[in-house]
Subunit: 253 residues, 2 copies
């Protein structure tokens, strides 16, 4: 079985609707590619007891926990000290990170707020930040990353090679214009029942010209079985008098 994962998005700015999260989709895609099964995402506020309790639950329930957000220098950046609390370890200056940041800032600019970014849970391993220097960190099975998307992506790619990879998911999809979910549901369910290990998803779409149809996606760890299922789906679409087009429609919403 593939390792499991959970993402914790930490930040009031997502819950207020100020900011559109884009990190979840990036991490989700990359985990699918490297064979780690993303089981849950939780978006939670910058409130200490909430972060501590959700990190504690998640690290017990999943092989990997990825957090985004809350690791800058300001008062609302509390993820790092909350992770220390969740692990029951002190939150202490990390000497190498301290030296790295001290060198990065002009003399006199490495103030108390910036020194917080060199303060990590005792025993944490920094995650290199090639964009803006201040690192993320891994503590146990919890990987703490920035919320700014380009920094988060750089941090994720730093740690991705170090994670235990499972079997990558194989995915095949078809779409058909003019075919609707309600018409194919029974036939599709028969295919799903014959292949319980393959995850078959059905998604209606409308393109920008108002033409609609359905996209059918099959995913699984056994590439041969995914191909078999994809062939059955294409045959089903043809039998219903429609044309199966490979892949996803250009406009998915």
């Amino acid at each position: 079985m593939n390792p499991t994962a959970c993402i914790l998005v930490i930040g009031n700015e997502i819950l207020s609707g100020r900011t559109q999260d884009v990190n979840v989709q990036y991490i989700a895609r990359r985990l699918t590619e490297i064979g780690i099964s993303l089981r849950e995402v939780r978006i939670i506020p910058d409130i200490r007891p909430v972060i501590v309790s959700v990190v504690t639950e998640a690290r017990a329930a999943y092989d990997h926990v990825f957090t985004t957000g809350g690791i800058g220098p300001t008062h609302d950046d509390i993820t790092s000290s909350c992770v220390a609390e969740a692990f029951g370890v002190p939150w202490v200056p990390h000497p190498e990170t301290f030296a790295l940041l001290e060198k990065h800032f002009a003399p006199g600019e490495f103030n108390a707020a910036r020194q917080r970014m060199a303060t990590l849970p005792q025993g944490a391993t920094p995650i290199r930040n090639p964009v803006s220097i201040a690192p993320g960190f891994t503590m146990g099975n919890v990987h703490v990353m920035a919320g700014v998307p380009r920094i988060m992506r750089a941090m994720f790619e730093e740690i991705a090679p170090t994670l235990r990879h499972g079997t990558p998911v194989t995915s095949r999809s078809w779409h058909a214009f003019g075919l609707y979910e309600g018409a194919l549901a029974a036939k599709l369910e028969n295919i799903q029942h014959a292949h319980p290990d393959i995850d078959i998803g059905s998604y209606p779409f409308h393109d920008r010209d108002g033409h609609g149809g359905v996209a059918l996606v099959c995913k699984g760890l056994d590439a041969d079985e995914v191909t078999q299922v994809a062939d059955k789906i294409a045959a089903m679409i043809r039998e219903m008098g429609f044309t199966p087009l490979a892949g996803e429609p250009a406009h998915k919403a």
Copy 2:
């Protein structure tokens, strides 16, 4: 205190990275506008025991639970029957919805799969769907909506006037180019400590030309206090030798 809410995004397509969720930001903004406090978002897979247990937890913890996704006619659309299970009630044909859909489809096309969309937890109230007819529903404090964004938005707007509204959140923001979080953190923290009921957020940004700075957002239920805090933040920015620009930067990421 304002009523609280949680959003449950139900769907493998979000967890696999296939689909970028855009419903959370819409609902989050609208709840902020009408004075309902969004406390948490959970994105969970199309797995029956997971949905049942998360709905059960969430409906006990929050005043309102909004779900998106999983109410179509295909085998992976299990939200409705899971909500019935979470409430311990039977999942039964809803006569008015049955009649509505029967009338909508051409003779012979209202098949078993489509009849599932007229099957609701016993005691549920349908939420009108002006886009594609098949309704969502409210069961207790759980509002079950479609995953397709334009249908979800229409359903949300159907129920928004019926929800108990709290005090709308007042928000004021400033941004400044060339000013960085690490430089203002201590001063900002002093303002935050003086106004614990106001939520002050600090968000670095870079515009498309590579110019960066910080956006400072203050929110709260007391509009006068929000104005006071915003004035203090503007004064702080000026004292540091930078120019406070009203509102958010054009490009936020």
